[in-house]
Symmetry: C2
Subunit: 353 residues, 2 copies
């Protein structure tokens, strides 16, 4: 393990560029002083902001580039125009060249995934990447994947995600055997997509020392925290995440409306303010910012494009943790072991069908 | 239109059977005195409860049966054991025989859909059924479908759902041209499932006097109320609904926790109580209870299994409205018109592909 965790930042990514990335990095450094940073982007924009953060400046290198991927670039456009030279590419390339341990970008998801995949390549024995994020629950936190790296998932991809997600849960939550659930529209074994049922059968029948497969879970189980890891294909996963975000926003709006309804409710709010701050804290989407790209030969973290410095710092912190706890090595090791563990169940399934 | 709306009830459905169904019907009758009821189920259980509701008793007939579909029966089991004789079957059959205008059940979804489909059959020109429900939004209410009648949807089914959902929105919201959106994981035309993109292309290129197609919407657009009608296939729709329910429950729990945190927050709550009641009212899942089965030759409403009398009354009210406003006739008429309207776009698409 390197002495410091070396973090490569796409300083031009996101809606606000360096004005969020630089202060965000400064906050992350405060949380983890054993970090160093390489910032890729327009030096003319970065330097003045960096000058206002002397603590970060002492731990940061700036690498200039004129080229930035735009938030509305298609993946193919981003690759065509931004390969070899954009701030996003260079941040990923630093990981590839072992000049950094992790790359963090708030740039557009499709472009970031395309570049990461093109440059870092998939891990051995993993076919497709996945995006995993931390989801706040009534019991604490869970990991949900895939949130939109790809659409549709065959049995193999669902199994890979169970392995990768449980490795991330071991790193993040310090669990020996994280509880893993497959997202489905009913908990009965007869329901749902063919590939989800088949993945469920294999997981049920395989000896899995590194995870505790608990069966199917439904959409409302995510918020309950029934499983530590919830596995689903990217279309449904993305829609679940955004539907939940939409509902949280609705609730916050209703609450705001309710509070400002009368002088009494305003007074009540003032009295209960510490409690409301706690509530706001729990529902704060910035705290769970940071999607982890899994399945690649390198750690890449996607931050929300519209987040602020605190949110960007949370994304960096996720990356820091994944590096410190050796996520990649743990995934690699279990992907290999797993191939053996599920082999029998796969053959049996093949013979029976 | 019949003088009264005739409502057939599966009195044995749901977690609580007649103890919820009968008081629920009584509440619905209070809201719509121009209703009459047929209750199917165990007379020994129904009669004593009905006796306590004289207003309902005067408008209700009880038809006895010993057989009830269980909440955990598989659709095939339910059909095998419950056809011709269960309370669920008889309620649907009353619609088939034109003894009732609508059937309402809190019984298990799979069984109810299987029986409704078997007995009532699909409408002409509709291949597959869908479940539509009313979703509270920041702008009021929207209709979301399919919430799990079937898994996966081809282009044709998505188009049928756009037509059926917009007919339901015209009935429910009194809109001439409801705004219809297709649920996707990005708003760009290049993203998402092939069949969703193809349905989007056809809707965009067709003259649609009965709806206003606004393009793709994302998961968080549902809660915002961006579209009056949100169309998606049943797997993602079911997961979106339950993820949103889970988040609403989380928020409610956090709020409860925050309020009971200190004497000051409790006092604050008391002062703001009318405001909190308003909030609770807005987030009350009972108010939006009642999934409408679309695509069948008859109106069937599915209530949540665990709801109370007020929630069951809401489901009956949805059914009442659909009958009074002639939902079926409106769907039938637009399905026919629609076939013509989209024909050109379909041929063009076929030739181009």
């Amino acid at each position: 393990m390197p002495e410091k965790v070396r973090i490569a930042l796409d300083a031009m990514g996101g809606d606000h560029g360096p004005s969020v990335v630089v202060p965000g990095a400064d906050l992350a450094l405060a949380a983890h002083p054993d970090s160093s940073f390489i910032l890729f982007g327009d030096r003319a924009q970065i330097d003045p902001i960096l000058a206002a953060h002397p603590r970060l400046k002492a731990e940061a290198t700036v690498v200039h580039t004129d080229v930035a991927v735009r938030m509305d670039d298609k993946p193919s456009q981003a690759l065509r125009n931004g390969r070899w030279k954009s701030s996003m590419w260079l941040a990923i390339d630093a990981v590839k060249k072992d000049e950094a341990d992790v790359a963090v970008s708030a740039g557009n998801t499709g472009a970031l995934m395309a570049m990461a995949r093109f440059n870092l390549r998939m891990m051995a024995n993993v076919e497709r990447p996945a995006i995993a994020a931390i989801w706040p629950t009534l019991r604490g936190e869970s990991i949900v994947l895939d949130l939109g790296a790809s659409i549709g998932a065959d049995t193999e991809h669902l199994l890979d995600m169970a392995v990768m997600g449980s490795a991330m849960a071991r790193v993040r939550f310090g669990l020996d055997r994280p509880k893993v659930g497959l997202l489905n529209i009913g908990v009965e074994e007869v329901k749902g997509l063919e590939q989800v049922r088949e993945a469920g059968r294999i997981l049920r029948e395989s000896p899995l020392p590194h995870m505790d497969y608990i069966g199917f879970v439904e959409g409302d189980d995510i918020g309950k925290g029934t499983a530590d890891v919830v596995v689903t294909e990217g279309f449904a996963g993305n829609i679940a995440l955004k539907a939940a975000e939409g509902t949280a926003r609705q609730f916050a709006e209703y609450l705001r409306g309710a509070i400002s309804k009368s002088i009494w409710s305003k007074l009540g709010y003032l009295l209960a303010k510490p409690a409301f701050n706690m509530l706001r804290n729990k529902m704060d989407p910035r705290k769970s910012n940071g999607g982890v790209f899994l399945g690649l030969n390198g750690v890449v973290i996607k931050s929300h494009g519209g987040t602020d410095a605190e949110g960007f710092a949370a994304a960096i912190n996720v990356g820091y943790e994944m590096v410190r706890e050796e996520l990649l090595a743990k995934i690699g090791a279990t992907i290999h072991r797993h191939a053996g563990e599920t082999a029998t169940a796969r053959v049996v399934g093949g013979a029976a069908s």
